[in-house]
Amino acid sequence: MDFGFKKEESELIEEVREFIEQKITSELVEETHQLGAIYGGAEAREFIKKLGARGWLTPAWPRDYGGLDSSEMVTYIIRDEMAYAGLPLYFVAAYNAGPMILRDGSEEMKREFLPPIARGEIEFALGYTEPQAGSDLAALNIRAEDRGDHFLLNGQKMFNTSTHVADYHWLAARTNFDGPKHKGISLMVVDLKSPGITIRPLITMAGWRTNEVYYDDVVVPKKNMMGEKNRGFYYLMGALDFERMFAPSAYKRLFEEIVDYARETVFNGRPLSKDPLIRQKLAQMAIELEVSKLLYYQLAYILDREKIPNYQASMEKMFATEVAQRICNTGMEVLGLYGQLKKGDPRAPLAGKLEFFYRSSVVETIYAGTSEIQRNIIAERGLGLPRG
């Protein structure tokens, strides 16, 4: 039994921290903040290539496809350190599409897409959700008609973030129109510059943008389909077990800034941090962050043993995102009236960061599977309770 990092892992953490210190600019952090993701801007494109050059984008992939043949533990460490630095890595190409292509794609597809993904040269956008298919992904019905050497696509996607800046759409589309819903879905790579694609912005309450995407007679070559036709839903469900995770340190830095604020802010002649109630609340957050960390690294541990986390991944995602929201709420309580001051206001504590996170954290328990869906999974797979 061992809860510590291995020597190489501890060394890697140091290396990553050094890299972050040297390579992260305030412009990059600002850009990421504006866009809601470390993707799409000029700064990010440069940064990702530097990360890719070290193999740190896809360390667990085989060397043949641009990886380091390293462990998931390493991937998880890097992602958590980056999240701590304010640059949570949620690359669709490296973490969603790439691993699926690696597992289920043809050799041709692997050769075409994996090395540039590993180098950080191309980015995908996630194309699952539709207006009528949110939690119930199998209800998606964007049509992909088989036209011999290509598919012809018509329909609409919803909340497809980064489609306006990414190179490719990682698309789930309906290829079989009768029979059970989940037996008629296929996955394909679509060039987002294809004629017939219209992207319309949807601005979130956090200020950053996601999109609606309309497909109007869009031609997608057959070779861009991943794996077998009509098996897409199974690939997707399998992939979710591998992908689902939330780097807990994304909110750890924020928590530490709230702690510093409580220490430095004197109210009625004593620092806020000496208020017993505030001490209790901050300690509770520190504890919950510790719990999140254990759940998080558990996933890497399971993956490295070539086992599949299923309910554990759901538990980690649910728990860590709910902790994220509690941290924001606790922070707001600590800041009191000041908590509402936005970035740019001269009196805004934490440079308005909490006001922003308070808004943006709302979505954490919704996307990538809502907390309710995660609880269903925990109960059904973790405890074997019957489906309703």
Partner: protein, 391 residues
């Protein structure tokens, strides 16, 4: 050592890549206790004056459980703190009554931390062989583990000390042979942590009276009155006035040990509940298929899994000789709240039957509260965490 803690079994249950001896210990404890300590026995012992049977005590001695933590030279097995945690988990799983915890954890760990060679040489082998039952008398009328609480006085008279005061919530003092008593040997001048000392007191000592409290879980916690109790100078445990740092360590280790019991109890609460929910039908379908019930269950499993992680992390750190103060307090705070919440949720999903005395779930409801209160509840430990955070 490999990083082997995050392992899982095929049946999706968290297991902790225990080493071979730990697996043997766990399996043998599980089957032994299932036979020896059914729910009926737990209820019987709650009513029983002593609270345990000599027969079961002897069997536990034969299994080597008393000396699990002690060095070989004291008749022990030199087990690690993790080994102890594995055993306590199984004891928690069956709600084992009796003075094992007070003897091995309260008494044993305090002696290991502070005892002289002579004291350890005299007492620990007797504990290992089952002849000696120990406990630790710490809390007083304020009902807290804080240093301000210690007001029982020990005055030096030539070659002995005279102890006067009252201790409350002392586990198993009514059957203990020796009581380690926390006393004040110096009036506090600002810092309450100074001037606290520990004494080994024979329960048979004249001037010492024990009353057993009537408690929620029927475990035996006692009021111990010290009326001019004379204790020879050599019974001072550790350095004079320097007892508090020892107690802090004992508190942290005992907290983690308590959590090991609690997660065992939490596992049992799930084992008592979930299979029932798959069988029990209402409205023509298993109640476990209703989403309101399922989401309670998802929360139960989350509370349990996270409690296991926090406990095994802290126990592992203690075993490895790493710093453990922060992790231990985080652990006790988290598990205290979680265990109580998870049993409460288990009751909710069981419906009326879980409320019946004859159903075992209620034993765990009570165990949860008792354990939460022992060695400081969540609020108490959160304050320690706040201190660790430099607040």
């Amino acid at each position: 050592m490999q990083k082997e803690v995050w392992a899982f079994q095929g049946d999706n249950r968290m297991d902790y890549d225990l080493n071979e001896e730990q697996q043997i210990l766990r399996d043998s404890a599980r089957s032994f206790l299932a036979k020896q300590c059914p729910g009926t026995f737990v209820r019987e012992m709650a009513e029983d004056e002593k609270g345990y049977t000599s027969e079961l005590w002897r069997k536990m001695v034969e299994l080597g459980w008393m000396g699990i933590l002690f060095p070989e030279q004291y008749g022990g097995y030199e087990g690690s703190f993790l080994d102890l945690a594995v055993l306590l988990y199984e004891m928690g799983y069956v709600c084992l009554p009796g003075p094992y915890f007070s003897t091995v954890v309260h008494g044993g760990i305090t002696l290991l931390e502070a005892g002289s060679e002579i004291q350890k040489g005299e007492i620990l082998p007797k504990v290992a062989s089952g002849e000696e039952i120990l406990t630790l008398a710490w809390t007083e009328s304020g009902g807290s583990y804080a240093p301000q609480e210690i007001s029982l006085k020990a005055d030096l008279h030539h070659d002995h000390y005279v102890l006067t005061g009252t201790k409350l919530f002392v586990p198993d003092a009514h059957v203990a042979g020796k009581i380690i008593c926390v006393a004040r040997t110096q009036e506090p001048a600002g810092d309450y942590e100074e001037g606290v000392s520990l004494f080994i007191v024979e329960r048979e000592n004249p001037g010492l009276t024990v009353h057993v409290h009537s408690t929620l879980a029927g475990d035996k916690q006692c009021e111990v009155e010290f009326n001019q109790v004379q204790v020879p100078g050599e019974n001072l445990l550790g350095e004079l006035h320097m007892g508090w740092p020892v107690l802090q360590k004992v508190l942290q280790k005992a907290s983690v040990a308590k959590c090991a019991q609690m997660i065992g109890g939490g596992q049992r609460a799930i084992d008592l509940t979930v299979p029932y929910l798959k069988e029990r039908e209402q409205f023509g379908r298993p109640v476990g298929s209703f989403q309101a019930v399922k989401h309670h269950c998802a929360n139960i499993l989350t509370l349990l899994d996270t409690s296991k992680f926090m406990t095994f992390q802290a126990a592992w750190r203690i075993s490895e000789g790493l710093s453990f103060e922060k992790e231990a307090s985080m652990c006790k705070a988290w598990v205290s709240d979680s265990y109580r919440q998870l049993v409460a949720l288990a009751h909710q999903v069981m419906g009326g039957i879980g409320f019946m005395e004859e159903h075992d779930l209620q034993l765990y409801f009570k165990q949860a509260k008792t354990s939460e209160l022992a060695f400081g509840d969540a609020r108490f430990h959160r304050e320690l965490v706040a201190q660790q955070l430099g607040l």
